[in-house]
Amino acid sequence: MSTEARTLALQSCRHCGAGAPVDVHFCPQCERILTLARHGDYFIFFGLPRKLTIDLEDLERRFRSLSRQFHPDYFYTASAAERIASLERASYLNDAYRVLKQPLDRAEYLLKVEGLPGVGRHQDASELPAGVLEEVFALNEELDEVRAAREAGVPAEQVQARLEAARRPVEERAARQEAQLEALFQRWDKQVDEEAPPDVRRATLESLRGLLQERSYIANLIAATDRERGEA
């Protein structure tokens, strides 16, 4: 993974032809900005290990420092090729910053670069573990009943109270998920540090993916309850 990728000279300078490691942005020989042809991933681009816990202040410092190196404002008088390279690198930097800044986006991105299938937004409920599935069905049923009650003219306070009650177990689950997520982040980071075997790391990523699926499902449910509350 990242350690191997880093040692290979994967980029080549379009200007002087010199080779360059994948995690540098300027040609080691002629010092011109490199075209963004081959690049590693967002982590490598930022010079960060492929870990899930990120020091946000450090990320921002790196972001500002890289912005100062690439921004198109500073390449106005350069050659056309360098201007394009600057635009591409600055875009990639901004996109990377946006993703790495948010823990969930960061985790989903890690799954992607590690070759796991994406976390669907409207995925099949059958993929969820049985306990979650039951809760989901129960809440959906309750939401339907509440909707019917509201339309039948049941007073708003009663509707609100039912919604509150229905929401509580889901919120508790969401809180548990946050804690699980945190634990998985730490497990992954430790495995990276210890260079754990690929199958062990893969198992962690599978758990992470399952949890993210669940989380997105639960988040949708909470949003649905909120909408219903707004209606009531």
Binding site: R64, S67, R68, H71, P72, D73, Y74, Y76, T77, L87, A90, S91, Y92, N94, D95, Y97, R98
Partner: protein, 619 residues
């Protein structure tokens, strides 16, 4: 070397600034004016006037004079139909096409009208550099500012205007961000700033973090159709109804009323009460008053409060998008002429819980920032860097008329996004893509930016091609699109049909046509300068006569002195239309001379009033 300037192309006024050895400064015209009124007028002989002369022609030739053209930049004819009634000039164009503005026998697009303003600023700057004995006074490149909340079409229209005016537009930057650059020069280097920019026609709020000289915009929000114009319109409506004008409110009278209420609005930023005085421009009562009325600040504030309140919603949204509470804002900066209104200042202070900064002139700060940005780009200086965001989400139309977002609002630019497409029938070689900008779920509620046709897809069974479309928003906030089929690596041809813009060919043609336009000759320009000078003296005198302190000052004036002033004033006003420059100059001098003593009296009273507030020891 040719010069690179910063331009604030405003709804009401435009300015040009430059960074010299001593830092940034605004370039003034021959009579010392920094502001160029954003008004363009074309006379019967096809001669084009820009600025104060065009502003005067709003009264004499309202149907051939355009103001607030910025409101129409990048918009479709259908969009502005509802507003057309508010303007004396003809707004047209076919349904979905770009707006056309009729002036006399010709039609102009908003970028062409704006180009007249830009060319005048270019000329002003070149005259200044020539006067400084510069070896190469030519101005061929500029940074131009736009409201942060301008969409892609409005930004593109602004860039087109620059090209039509013969300027290479180095960068389009956002007005609030430009203002923060100007403020950042000598301020503390770390903190969170809110820039509240309330101009003639647009409102913007931007929240920035400044650290190590990097000005990073966290969020922006605004309303591209909210500004001082809306306040003026309320006041005009009040006068028209109180004067019982109705049908009699022809274009020239409406302009006279508009100018009078603007004057009253300005007065009320300095004092508690003023008088709206409308001189009748019509032939029926030459020199007579059409309308007079006292207006107190309280009444004014009650009237305009709803307009000012509309700025607060975007402020809250910007804070929410930045993930900050109002208390997290370290500094608040005011930009735009409408922030001179005391009510605006009060509400901003309440909103952010701290007094706003106003040490720089709110009219000039944006142009200064644009000049600084121009300097950054050509000088190689890396002291400062602006990192701006795209104000609106960018997306495409998906099945069922929904919008699928590809680049979210408040993403730092440049930014990019990719989307995969495929085909629905066998051997399909083209795919239609509709690009949108906005935050709503449905296509119909968002802004249509362009329709693209991807052509040249290699014939394959349905669903097999994998066409990757890449959307790139550059540092100007302007979109470009490229596409390739991944299986064959074939680059696709993209035909761009901007929904409300000009094609490259149209811009080229307009650039050529602009050279054919009659320019005002040297003698005409001298005449215009004489009128500008006369107007400055007229305005200053009228302002003194409306000053509530005048009553008390009468004791210090000689008998008949006021009558002499009134007569010289009327004399000059009636000769403003004269084609003889010498007559205007003579009468300007006469009015100036006869008011010297009054000016002295008023100034002494002002000084005495200021001093009486202090202890004797302190004086």
């Amino acid at each position: 070397m040719s010069k690179v300037v910063g331009i604030d192309l405003g709804t009401t006024n435009s300015l040009v600034a430059f960074v010299g050895r001593e830092g940034p400064f605004v370039i003034r015209d021959g009579s010392g004016d920094a502001l160029l009124p954003s008004v363009v007028s074309v006379d019967a002989g096809d001669v084009v006037y820009v600025g104060r002369e065009a502003q005067r022609r709003l009264l004499t030739d309202p149907n051939r004079s355009v103001y607030s053209v910025k409101r129409f930049m990048g918009r479709g004819a259908g969009d502005v139909a509802a507003e057309a009634g508010h303007f004396p000039f003809a707004l047209g164009g076919s349904g979905s096409g770009v707006v056309r503005i009729g002036l006399g026998g010709r039609e102009f697009t908003p970028p062409e009208i704006s180009a007249f303003i830009l060319r005048e600023l270019k000329r002003r700057a070149e005259a200044y550099f020539a006067g400084q004995g510069e070896f190469d006074p030519e101005v061929d490149r500029a940074v131009i500012t736009v409201p942060a909340y301008f969409n892609d079409a409005q930004r593109t229209a602004t860039r087109d205007a620059g090209r039509i005016a013969g300027l290479e537009v180095l960068r389009i930057i956002n007005e609030p961000t430009a203002a923060s650059l100007a403020y950042g020069l000598d301020r503390r280097r770390t903190g969170v700033i809110a820039v509240y920019d309330f101009g003639g026609g647009t409102f913007d709020i931007s929240i920035l973090r400044v650290e190590d000289g990097v000005f990073q915009v966290l969020s922006t929000n605004g309303d591209t159709h909210l500004g001082g114009d809306d306040i003026d319109r309320l006041l005009v409506g009040m006068v028209v109804s109180e004067a019982g004008l109705g049908e009699a409110a022809d274009a020239a009278r409406l302009q006279a009323i508009r100018q009078a209420v603007i004057q009253a609005k300005w007065d009320l930023s300095e004092r508690d009460e003023t008088e709206i005085v409308v001189a009748d421009p019509g032939p029926a009562a030459p020199g007579g008053w059409l309308f007079r009325r006292r207006l107190g600040r309280d009444e004014f504030e009650r009237l305009v409060r709803p307009v000012v309140d509309r700025t607060l919603g975007p402020c809250r949204l910007a804070l929410a998008d930045a993930g900050l509470e109002a208390s997290a804002i370290d500094e608040v900066v005011l930009v735009g002429g409408s922030t001179r209104i005391p009510l605006v200042r009060r509400l901003v202070q309440e909103m952010f819980g701290r007094p706003p900064h106003d040490d720089l002139n709110p009219d000039e700060v944006v142009a200064l920032g644009a000049a600084i940005q121009a300097h950054i780009m050509v000088s190689g200086s890396r002291d400062m860097l602006l990192l701006d965001v795209t104000p609106l989400s960018l997306g495409i139309e998906t099945m069922g008329g929904a919008m699928s977002k590809i680049i979210l609002r408040n993403s730092t630019i440049p930014a990019s996004g990719t989307e995969m497409f495929t085909t629905f029938v066998d051997n399909q070689t083209a795919v239609d893509i509709h690009v949108l900008q906005g935050e709503r779920e449905l296509v119909a509620d968002n802004r249509s930016l362009a329709r693209f046709k991807l052509r040249g897809i290699p014939p394959m069974p349905a669903g097999l091609p994998r066409i990757q479309v890449r959307f790139q928003i550059d540092a100007n906030g302007i979109l470009s699109v490229s596409a390739r089929e991944l299986r064959t690596s074939v680059e696709q041809t993209i035909e761009v049909k901007p929904s409300y813009g000009l094609t490259d060919e149209e811009v080229e043609r307009m650039l050529l046509e602009s050279f054919e336009h009659a320019e005002t000759d040297v003698e005409a320009r001298f005449l215009i300068e004489a009128r500008n000078e006369a107007e400055t003296v007229l305005r200053a005198t009228e302002k003194s006569l409306r000053n509530p302190d005048l009553e008390a000052a009468k004791a210090d004036l000689a008998p008949g002195e006021l009558a002499a002033i009134e007569s010289a004033l009327a004399d000059l006003r009636s000769s403003m239309g004269s084609p003889d420059r010498a007559v205007i100059e003579a009468k300007t001098k006469a009015l100036n001379d006869v008011t010297l003593h009054l000016a002295e009296v008023m100034m002494n009273r002002g000084v005495r009033a200021a001093l009486t507030g202090r202890s004797v020891d302190g004086v």
